[in-house]
Amino acid sequence: MLKVENLHFRYSRTGDPVLHGTSLELKQGEIGILLGKNGSGKTTLFKNILGIEKPKSGALQFNGENLLKMKRRERSRRIAYVPQDIHFGALSVFDSILMGRVSYFGLKASHDDYLAVEKIIEDMGLTDFAHRNVDELSGGERQKIAIARAMAQEPKLMVFDEPTGNLDIANEHLIMVEAKKLAKEKNISILSSLHDLNQALTFGDKFFFMKDGVVKYAGGKEIVTEAVIKDIFDIDVRIVEIENHKVILGGNYHAS
């Protein structure tokens, strides 16, 4: 579905290349997790996929369509974004979610747009605070509104940039469960960056390890090994299996 091929990108003409030859592939309904150190190019790759930045060369395909030639409005109906730091302005929750439909209605929301938002609010259990101002809500609630807004775009793919970065454990869990539900129930693909490797293993179907602007390892859970983590993050970990689940233990086990 999403096919990134040999993407090259740098922020300015004289700057260092941030992406050089990045490729990845994600299928419909899959949850892909992007892992890598800070500065490895995860956010930049997202920006290119979302059309916030334009790559210097390479190909971006979405269900066979060329994303690089697609109008922004068209692209926004296929791919939605849940950013890391979420701003809404002083709008109500309802209006904030309705905003996700702007690429459909353009100037003025129709009754159908209102109904669509109404349904999302019900589905996601947001009815209780639909009329509060977004800036009165907690971090976790705002994150949920951001997901709801992305849902209003009726996308086939949702891109999450560090979705749990600012959240406590409870909200973190809530958001990831919500994301997984969307992927499995509505067949929406998800591409997300995450820091927590165990969380990645719990929620991800496919894993992409990035280093120095390229995806170095890609595949299912089987590719998450001690050696790969050592290569990507330069840390020693131990992987154990508990009840058929891989668990990554931090700390310098090999040295002791």
Partner: protein, 355 residues
Amino acid sequence: MNAIHELKKRRKRNTVVVAALLAAVLAIGVSCLFVGSSDMSFTESLGALTGYGSPAHLRIIWRIRVPRVLAAVIAGAGLAVSGLVMQTTLNNSMASPSTLGVSNAAVFGANLSIIAFAGGFLSTGNNLSSFDVGANPFATSALAFVFSTASILLILGLCTLRSFSPNVVVLAGMAIGSIWTAATTILQFYATDVGLSAAVVWSFGDLGRATYRTDAIMAAVVLAGIVFFMLMSWKYNALLSGEATAKTMGIHVEGLRFVSLLLASVITAACVSFLGVIGFVGIICPHVTKKLLGQDHRVTVPVSCLMGSLLLLLADTASRSLGSGSALPVGAITSLLGAPFFIAIIFSRKENRRC
């Protein structure tokens, strides 16, 4: 359906606010016609308004007070809405209608006309005795408008050469603005005493310069702007989520920013060229609106306009009542109101989240 019902209630409240403000603008606008520096009684004013009275009274009402009140309504709305749009599109709560150096350029143009070309301004101030005597007030205004428009195009042109990011626009605006100010200083250095004082008086900002013709021109520009800004409300709302996110929602951010800044600046250029510099309306009104009603542009665009009209009407009435015999410059009154307000913003904790 509960949410939609709730939404309709909210929309009703907003309509009530807009209607109330509109009524206030009308009421205060009409009552301003009865206030002025000349000693006209209420009945004399009323008589003149309905077409009866001495030629002098008729002239004061129909040639001075009516165009002046109209100018306050039009320019107030224009400056306030320009400020709001600047703040949103530049993602900067300190942006104002003059962020692109519009006022500085207009002042330079006017100075050039008055000092270098001895433009017709001298006989068009708020000097009632010579109000109708010859002289073309358009020469100074035209040059002010030409320079401010040129300045806008220069800055926007420069910015499109490189990334059209808000910071680049603000900095370029500051830089170009300071060039105009420097040029004005040099011009004033070589001016005669009379020329200099005329140039300085011009920059004060005075609604007394308004005529039906200038009102009509300003109204055309301001109305076009307001209609465009209203249509773009949802796109401005999307911009509140940040530039990157707005792009992923399908908004052509660069194009929207370019057209919005151009329109807002042209509105400002028209108002400043005809009336002189009127500060702070463009900052106070959007901020008060946002603080009271949130940031939904479907509401803040019309409400800012009405707030601007209201403020300028009140400031102008104050300026006409305070100066004994002649009116104080309205630009000074709005700025006097502006400074304390700004301090209030800085020290208000809630403001940080909302603006």
